[in-house]
Structure formats: C-alpha cells, structure tokens
Assembly symmetry: C2
Homo-oligomer: 335 residues x 2
C-alpha cells in the first residue's frame, strides 16, 4: 500500500506538506505543490480513509436504516439517499432493519461504533425506536416516513391529506360504502392514513361505519384476511382504501379468488408505489409517495446539518394520486 510517507519521500518533502497539498488546508509553494502532485500521480496514491477518519474523528459515511429493502417505496428512498450522498462525497452503509426493533437497535449501535457522520432512518416504530445513543454521540439523525422524537430533522409525507384525497377520489367515482384497511394501530403512518379517510367521509357528510375501518398489519396476509372479512359482510363495501403496498397484494389475491372485479364490483385505491406493476393493472388507482425525493432531501438535510448545526428541520411532502381512469395527476393540496 502506498502511504503519504511514500509520496513525501518521492517528492522530497515532509508528509505534512503532502497533507497540506491534498487537503488544501494551507498555502504551499506552487513548485513544491507540483512536485507533490506529480508524486501522487506517479505512485497512484490514495489517502487511507480509515486513518483519516480516526484522525479527523469524522468519516465520510452515512448510514441508511430502512424498514424493508424489498419494498419498492424504500428502494426509491434508498436511491435518493445514495445519489445525494455520492454527490457530496459520502458513502452509504445500508442497514435493513426488517421491521424488527431489535435488529434496528443493533444496527444503530454498530453504525455509531463505526463513527458514521449521520443517519437516515425509516423508524420501525415512532415510540420504540431509540436513537439516544446516536444523539449522545452527536450523530445527527433524519427520520423519513415516520416522525421521531429526538431527530435532527425529518422528511415526511402528509399522510392524512393523502388518504383524504384517495377517499374523495372514491367518493367522486360514486362509491357509497368505502372501507379502509390500514396498518397497526400503534403505527403513526397507519393511523394518520385512517384519520384522513375518516376526515374525508365526515367532510362529505357520510357516516363512518366502524365495521369498515380495519387495523391490520401492513403485510400481505393482513390485506388478504381483512379483505375477506369485508367481503363477507352482509352489507359489503363497494370501495376499498388499502394503505400500503404489501397489503394490496393480499387484497388483490382475495378479490381474485372470489371473482370480485375491479372496478365494477369494488373500486380500489392502493397506497405506495408498485412501480413495475403500474402497466399491468389498468384499474388500480394508487397514492404515490415521492420516495426518491424523500431520500434525496433527507440526505441533503443531513449533510447540511453536518456542515452547520441548525435547529431541527422538518419537511412535509405531498403524495400524488394516480387515478386509473386517466385523470391528470393532482397534488393533494389541490383537492
């Protein structure tokens, strides 16, 4: 391995001077400077980032802790973080917490031990995710998808508005009994989405039937069961709002096995992107969150903060409705 010492010898200077040239931390005589650069090129020297990290006490590494890397929404977030980080010279350590609070905690520890400069996280839980250790070490955290108490920032989507928009879309399409299948009751985004659904019904002067509001588990199995339960009701719903992309797969399977057709028998709006399936199902509307943008913004926020500590900054983005009937895409605020 080529070290700075090798370069300094080749250029006939001290390693301090080499360091100065490479980091630009002080003035160096142009001639000396050139000799150093030549030696660097000659030897193909590259600074050892581990040594630099130890000395400077900061690495050029961010950590990204996601809930589920196989979920296209988080994948998009991931790309956004990745691109923004790369642009600023940061690398990204990927941690897939898998909705497991213990795994998440373990990852946060390791990331702290590795002296990551900052962390972007989609928390497993708004209550139980504990970033205290990071905060204590002065490692800033930006939350996405779900708010987090001590976070230095957050990039969230207005889930209430998004769910309300979806509900209004169903109403406008003529739905009379709309059901909502949402996530666990202790999940912040799940209850926000349910809340938006209810709000839209109230606004429209429609009754809210408790039978039609189901807390499920954000998993395919939950979507499947909840849908079957709804379809077994004496007074069936004629529209479904399903608040995440894993459950919608279960919902579709249940409807398919029962021979229930979309949108003739029930109209359906899904949440989150199923990007590659978009073309395949001509009758499934969905609420799309700007995953890439969220990730990008989150990383930028984090890196900004590293440069100059500021007060926590919270960004709220809007989801868009992709209506299957070919209507124009509409930001949620416009409805």
């Amino acid at each position: 391995m080529v070290t700075m010492r090798d370069v300094s010898r080749a250029a006939g200077v001290s390693s301090a001077t080499v360091s100065r040239v490479l980091t630009g931390s002080a003035e160096v005589d142009p001639a000396t400077r050139q000799r150093v650069l030549d030696a660097v090129r000659q030897l193909d020297y590259r600074p050892n980032l581990v040594a630099r990290g130890l000395r400077r006490q900061v690495s050029q590494v961010l950590a990204l802790v996601v809930t589920d890397i196989e979920n296209p929404f988080y994948t998009a977030v991931c790309r956004g973080v990745e691109d923004a980080a790369r642009l600023k010279g940061y690398s990204v350590i990927l941690c897939n917490a898998d909705r497991d609070i213990d795994k998440e905690r373990e990852y946060l520890r390791v990331v702290a031990d590795q002296n990551a400069s900052g962390v972007v996280i989609s928390p497993a839980s708004a209550q139980n995710t504990d970033i205290g250790a990071l905060v204590a070490r002065g490692i800033p955290v930006v939350a996405v998808d779900m708010p987090l108490e001590q976070a230095a920032g957050s990039v969230l989507v207005d889930n209430r508005a998004a769910a309300a928009m979806a509900t209004r879309h169903l109403l406008a399409g003529g739905a009379r009994r709309i059901a909502c299948i949402t996530g666990p009751s202790d999940n912040a985004t799940a209850s926000d989405r349910l809340d938006g659904y209810m709000r839209a019904l109230h606004e429209a002067g429609r009754p809210v039937d408790p039978e039609l509001a189901i807390y499920s588990n954000y998993r395919e199995s939950g979507g499947y069961e909840a849908t079957n339960r709804l379809m077994d009701l004496a007074d069936r719903p004629d529209a479904l709002l399903v608040t995440n992309n894993r459950m919608i797969v279960g919902t579709l399977r249940a409807l398919q096995s029962r021979g229930v057709s979309i949108p003739d028998d029930v109209n359906v709006v899904s949440f989150d992107e199923l990007p590659w399936a978009l073309e395949l199902h001509p009758h499934l509307s969905m609420v799309r969150q700007p995953g890439y943008l969220i990730g990008q913004k989150a990383a930028e926020l984090l890196i900004e903060r590293l440069a100059s500590p500021t007060t926590p900054q919270h960004i709220v983005m809007e989801a868009e409705l992709i209506a299957k009937d070919g209507r124009a895409r509409t930001p949620s605020s416009a409805i």
Copy 2:
C-alpha cells in the same frame, strides 16, 4: 466518547489488559477480567471500529456493488448479502452503480480506500469492469450475475439452461414462431440467454429466424421498441421470450397499446422476478432467479475466503420456471 483508556482506569489496569479481555487474545486473571467487564458495562464502553480497523488493517465491512438497486432481482440479492453479512458480524456498504461503468469504477476506488474486507459485485460489464485495484490490494471480490476475470469467486445462474427451459415451455404450449428480445450483445448474460433460446430451437428441429432474435438494451424503452418491431413483421411471432424484467414492462405496454392479448395472440415468458406483480398478471410466465440465495452464497463465499484463502470458487445455480398455466415449478436441469 468512552475509550479503552477510560475503562482501564476505572478497572485499575492497563489498556492492554482491557484489550486482552475484550478480544480474548490472551489469558487474563479471572478476577481482573471481571473488574474489566464490570467497568465496560458501567461505562457502556464500545470499541471504536475505526481505530480498530486502522490498527488491524481489516474492517468488518463488506461492499456490495449492484447494477440497479430498483430492480427487484438485485434487491433480493442485496437482502441475501445483507443477512449473511450481519450473521457474521459484517456491515455492508451499498453502492448503486446504475449500469454506469464510470460510476462503478469510482465506487470501487472508494471502497478500496475505505479498506473494505471484501466486495460482492454484479459487474456492469464482464469485459470493462476492472477490479485490478482491489485484487492488488488483496481485497477479494465475488461476482454475481456475471462472471469476472480476476474474481476470487462467483455465484452465477445457468442462463443458457434457463433460456432454453423457457423456450421449451413456449414450444410445448404450441408456439410456432418464437421471438427473443435480449440485452446488449456485449453483455454476457444477454448473449447466454439468447444462446439458450437458439439451442432449444435447434434441439426441437425448428428454424432460427434472424429477424426474431433482437439485441436490445435491457431497458423498458428497448422492450417497447423491439416488441413493436416484431409485431410489425409480415409474419408475426406468436410467442416472445423477453430476457429481463425491465424490458418486459415495455413489451407489455406495447402489446397493450396494440390490443394484442396474452396468451391468446402471443404467449410471453419474462425473465427475472417482478415479485409484486406476480398476482396481477395471470397469464405471464417467468423465469425466476434465486436472488436472495445468490446474495447469501456470495457473501458466505467472501467471508469464508477472508478466513482462509482458497482457490477461486464458482457456484452455478439454477433458475426456475414459473408457468402461468399452473404447472409445477421445475428446476432447469430436469428438462
């Protein structure tokens, strides 16, 4: 931050002893040992991995360089690598090369500078991807999805067999003119798949019409154009083999816009998984590669090699055909 020195003072020993206790590198008197452990607990000490990495000259970090993190196949690989690495106490740096050879090269440099212990890579190109710098530094590389000259190992799929299997499936379904849309001609997997397609045709005593074998770009746009071109032929194909999951989206869109129905007008087999769309399209068969397993094996291979340098090890896995008509899943070797 709590250092080893702090622990040593609290326990009334030297930091060397603390190190010995924590790494188990030498015998320590049980009583002393206990005092050290107590101090560690008391202070909530955690070793600084950067310092350790500098001293030991090896980090507990692997790098994963993938072609396209938004592609469900690579996402599955990613999870496999991640899980296997975590199990062995390694972290994973994620690098999304985006099919860009320059971006890939840049990432490989950074990863080397960060002293990663090893690299799992899905190369952007079998010819142009250059891992020389890593090899020179003694950083082992395991290739997935595509073979790589100097790699310390590889985990690949038998693409010829897989494409042949898919082609036979179409033949068995009564197809008479089968077209194949594959990736760039300089892409190893793309030409392997085309090769398998041709081989199956030969074996069946069918002519190979050059008009029906199209090199495209592995992107949605390519699938769209190629499909349109094929459908414009005077003597249209009645079956399509599309060799990756991005192009299939373009194919489906083209077919849809022309009102061509699957499988009545043309039968279609796709490559790679579109996992979340599986439920949605009842008539689309596909060849599925075991992404998770590939990633897992690759990481295990890498970590094994770190423990004891061996000769390069190459693993070939089989794809499975998921036939839409409800036939049993069949490993490619059985056909």
